[in-house]
């Protein structure tokens, strides 16, 4: 058998697939005005046939294209989008975001009373929907402590001393005690227009009553946020038309919502908290990408994080560096045996090829388990070394849970991906070249180095890119044998998805990794052509 690959193609891997029989159709239509059998000009007849052929080809490809698009491309695009998506602040605190944008933050960087009042409404609603802690966790990525600030205040916000307003309104006019009257007022467009804050708060409260509590708002007393907003509307000089009761609020006892918040937690007077909320209030953020590049935004602009907080660049560099080492080890090990396989008689080569294909076909987990068993301190390799006497029993080699473990195991796992392309290129180098070189007086080494080796370089290129691409995205093997110093960026992405729950950061790290991989993929396509990937 001449060729071990499953495809069994004798051609060189560089032979372009496009040169298929049938390509001659396009050449013939240059010939001039001839008529086809049905009397049409041959040219248009051929063009039609060509069009039909194209459509037929596309129809055959379309189902798969749609399938891959929906099951694979779309999910990845969707995840990548998370790296810039930042809806949570604007969705959870819509009123605050608008108010903050217009608030000059004059009082030492702390918002004004009216911004706090909007924040009160937002937080009250968010607490009902239990969204405030999620927001807290999100902002906590940017500033430590915000998580508990939101959680603690969320718990307290329903108990704020704003109930004085409801009492005073009800004392001023008993109609306020009737939920049905409220419902009627809030159905009146003129009243709604006159009382914007109240309307907003009432609608939100009614939404909570219907959605969460499954109550009829026309039968329930509105909550404090509605009365607080009403007080603020009226204090602002609103004059709702009848039938809304006319109440003079100038004599009302009032509370400062700002003070209530600061009393609850003095961090609400911390300008940094508000700066953080404001900075992350837009719907898109570059924050995750900055974080993924070990950078941060400070009042002075974007800068690198302090050295003791940089981790992702280290990980990216380590991933690239270790992948290079693995690729290089693969070349080193794959070259001699590919050479041997390519030069041995086919019968022997076939037998030896099985030794390459068996690991290739064996489960990744089997191979990883094997290395775990072999590399342990008390594992087979160390036992043998101690038995031979190379290392002492107390000084066993640390081969696992570090970079060494990852490099050894991954070199073994990826080696077939280097051997197969290398071998298929070497197969195409005619043995007569070496003989010719020798007969022209070249020494063995010269013949190899000047003739054989340059011809095998395309194989090294193809194998290296393939191994490198696969290596930088590896997850399972580093996870099991890598410890802390032998893990890759993939492991960190998995950690952020399932443990730290910082999905935006995971997406940003994933995007960077994907860009690197796709760039290499592009290079590979240019150099080798993806059609020429060979398997088994």
């Amino acid at each position: 058998m001449s060729d071990q690959t499953a495809s069994g193609r004798p051609e060189s891997p560089q032979s372009p697939v496009a040169a298929l029989p049938g390509g001659e159709v396009t050449e013939r239509d240059q010939d001039g005005p001839m008529l086809a059998a049905d009397g049409r000009p041959l040219k248009s007849s051929l063009a039609r046939a060509l069009r039909r052929e194209k459509l037929r080809a596309l129809a055959l490809i379309a189902p798969l294209l749609v399938f891959i698009f929906i099951s694979f491309v779309l999910p990845i695009a969707d995840m990548l989008f998370r790296s810039v998506q930042n809806d949570i602040v604007a969705d959870t605190l819509p009123r605050t975001v608008v108010a903050l944008a217009n608030d000059p933050l004059e009082e030492e960087g702390v918002p004004s009373e009216s911004t706090f009042a909007q924040f009160y409404t937002d937080l009250y609603i968010a607490e009902e929907y239990k969204e405030h802690t999620r927001l807290g966790s999100r902002l906590n990525y940017e500033m430590s402590g915000i998580s508990s600030l939101f959680r603690g205040t969320g718990r307290a916000v329903g108990r704020f001393d704003t109930d004085i307003y409801a009492d005073q309104f009800e004392a001023a006019d008993p109609a306020f005690e009737d939920p049905a009257a409220w419902a009627d007022w809030m159905a009146d467009d003129d009243i709604r227009a006159a009382l914007p804050l109240t309307t907003d708060a009432y609608d939100a409260w009614a939404g909570i009553a219907v959605e969460l509590d499954e109550d009829n708002p026309a039968e329930e007393d509105p909550e404090d946020i509605v009365y607080t907003s009403l007080y603020r509307d009226l204090a602002n000089g609103a004059a709702p038309p009848a039938p809304f009761p006319q109440v003079d609020v100038s004599g009302f006892e009032s509370v400062s919502i700002r003070e209530l918040f600061i009393e609850e937690d003095e961090d609400w007077a911390d300008p940094e908290v508000w700066e953080t909320i404001r900075a992350y209030s837009s719907r898109y953020t570059s924050g995750y990408f900055l974080n993924a590049a070990d950078m941060q935004t400070t009042p002075e602009g974007v800068e690198l994080r302090p050295e003791n907080e940089r981790v992702y660049m280290t990980l990216f560099v380590r991933t690239l560096w270790m992948s290079l080492v693995i690729t290089f080890s693969c070349i080193l090990l794959a070259y001699p045996i590919s050479f041997l396989l390519a030069t041995l008689p086919a019968r022997h080569a076939n037998l030896l090829m099985i030794l390459v294909l068996l690991p290739f076909w064996t489960s990744l987990l089997v191979r990883t388990s094997a290395w775990k068993v072999l590399l342990q301190n008390e594992g087979v390799i160390n036992d043998i070394l101690v038995w031979i006497g190379i290392v002492s029993d107390t000084n066993r080699l640390a081969l696992i849970n570090n970079a060494t473990g990852t490099i050894i195991a991954m070199t073994h796992i990826l080696l077939p991906f280097m051997i197969l392309p290398l071998y298929s290129v070497m197969k195409t180098i005619p043995p007569s070249y070496m003989r010719a070189a020798r007969s022209l007086g070249a020494k063995d080494w010269t013949a190899f180095w000047r003739v054989w080796f340059p011809l095998s370089v395309p194989g090294i290129g193809a194998g290296s890119i393939l191994v490198f691409i696969m290596s930088i995205g590896y997850y399972i093997t580093p996870e099991i044998v890598g410890g802390t110093r032998g893990v890759f960026i993939s492991n960190r992405i998995a950690y952020h998805i399932s443990t730290s729950l910082n999905w935006g950061l995971a997406a940003a790290l994933g995007t960077i990794l994907l860009v690197v991989v796709l760039a290499l993929y592009w290079v590979y396509d240019r150099l080798v052509g993806i059609d020429n990937v060979k398997l088994g």
């Binding site: 109550d215 329930e220 907080e309 981790v311 280290t314 008390e378 802390t484």
Partner: protein
């Protein structure tokens, strides 16, 4: 709030009528931690419950470690496939805060204590969240090999011995996260236990803790799964290592390995059930029926026959007997045993909720250096 009173009154009335007539689902997915712990749950109350209800089909999922991530994703999808989830108290609080776990009326959902005490009294201060139904108290503590020749007969007696590589040379295993390690490092650097968290809030404190950890960094194997340390100790890959006390118990007593346990400055924590928000009525009825049984005084005491974690109910403590297979007294091996608990850290849930992201970034950066 009148509204809320009114609401809860109708809700209770509604429950009262539906609970009786409610059909119970025949399938239930329970999420737990796998290993010896899941096995103790299986033997103490899942199998007995299945004997009473042969129509029920239980599926186990062993992903409690990723419970928050999975419940969040399920919630985003609006498709909850888990029915009852075993989580740590910290995760339960997080899930409760985010509305992913159901708030539970303890008195109504759970059985009163065998001794007649109310649920609230029986569980006492273990009820740390409205959504969290505690099962056990556990500790993260250290085990060490008793046959290390280089130690010349000495054995570690206090937590700070893990930092003493002169007297106790050899590899150590520590969990690959800041929680626990940072506290121990500061404590062993001379900070009083009650000042540790104040200290950790400052940059200097973090630097100090990491500097202390630096002294043993080259000797540390970092673990991520609870089974790692027992395996590493058994294989002799490490000589001291932190893990959950129940895992160490089974290593020492069940597998008879030459390992002993260190009870000093261990991290005391709770584990229990949460019910995911958004179950359908039939499943919820089944889950509640199961929970009522599985968390009663006798069942929690039974669980202690299989694993050395302290039952969450005070009324279970007197019923704790001997190990189901080995016949040894279980009480002395519990983290709740007063002798063991004389000097322990209580996991600072809210503090870590705030500082986890930051310290984790610092810790991982330190690890990567």
């Amino acid at each position: 709030m009148k509204l809320k009173l009114l609401m809860s009154a109708t809700a209770v009335a509604a429950l009262g009528t539906t609970a009786v007539a409610q059909e119970m689902a025949d399938e239930m997915t329970i999420v737990s931690w796998g290993g010896a712990y899941q096995n103790s749950q299986l033997r103490a109350y899942v199998e007995p419950y299945l004997e009473m209800h042969p129509e029920l089909d239980v599926t186990w999922d062993e992903r409690s470690g990723e419970a928050v991530a999975n419940l969040r994703a399920m919630d985003e999808a609006g498709n909850i496939t888990w029915d009852l989830v075993d989580v740590t108290a910290a995760d339960a609080m997080r899930l409760c805060d985010e509305g992913l776990a159901m708030e539970v009326d303890f008195e109504e959902t759970l059985a009163p204590g065998d001794d007649g005490s109310s649920v609230e009294d029986d569980f006492g201060d273990m009820l740390v969240s409205d959504c969290f139904i505690p099962q056990i108290a556990y500790s993260t503590t250290f085990g060490y090999r008793t046959d290390v020749e280089e130690w010349g007969g000495e054995v570690p007696t206090e937590i700070c011995d893990i930092f003493d590589t002169e007297t106790f040379p050899g590899q150590r295993s520590l969990e690959q996260r800041p929680i626990g390690n940072m506290e121990w490092a500061l404590y062993c650097d001379g900070v009083a236990m009650e000042d540790v968290y104040d200290m950790l809030e400052t940059d200097e404190g973090v630097d100090r803790a990491l500097a202390k950890l630096d002294t043993i960094k080259d000797d540390v194997v970092w673990w991520t799964a609870g089974a790692d340390t027992p395996q590493l100790l058994a294989d002799g890959e490490v000589v001291i290592g932190s893990t959950y006390n129940g895992r160490l118990f089974s290593l020492i007593e069940e597998q008879d390995q030459p390992v002993a346990m260190l009870w000093d400055a261990q991290m005391y924590d709770l584990d229990g059930w949460i019910i995911p928000e958004g179950l359908d009525d039939a499943t919820l009825a089944r889950v509640k029926d199961f929970l009522y049984f599985a968390t009663d005084t006798q069942r929690l005491a039974d669980q202690a026959q299989y694993i050395s974690y302290g039952p969450a109910r005070a009324s279970s403590a007197p019923l704790v007997t001997t190990h189901a297979d080995l016949g040894i007294e279980m009480a002395p091996h519990m983290p709740t045993n007063p002798e063991n608990a004389s000097n322990s850290f209580v996991y600072a849930y809210t503090w870590w909720a705030d500082y986890r992201d930051d310290l984790d970034a610092r810790f991982q950066a330190w690890l990567a250096q």
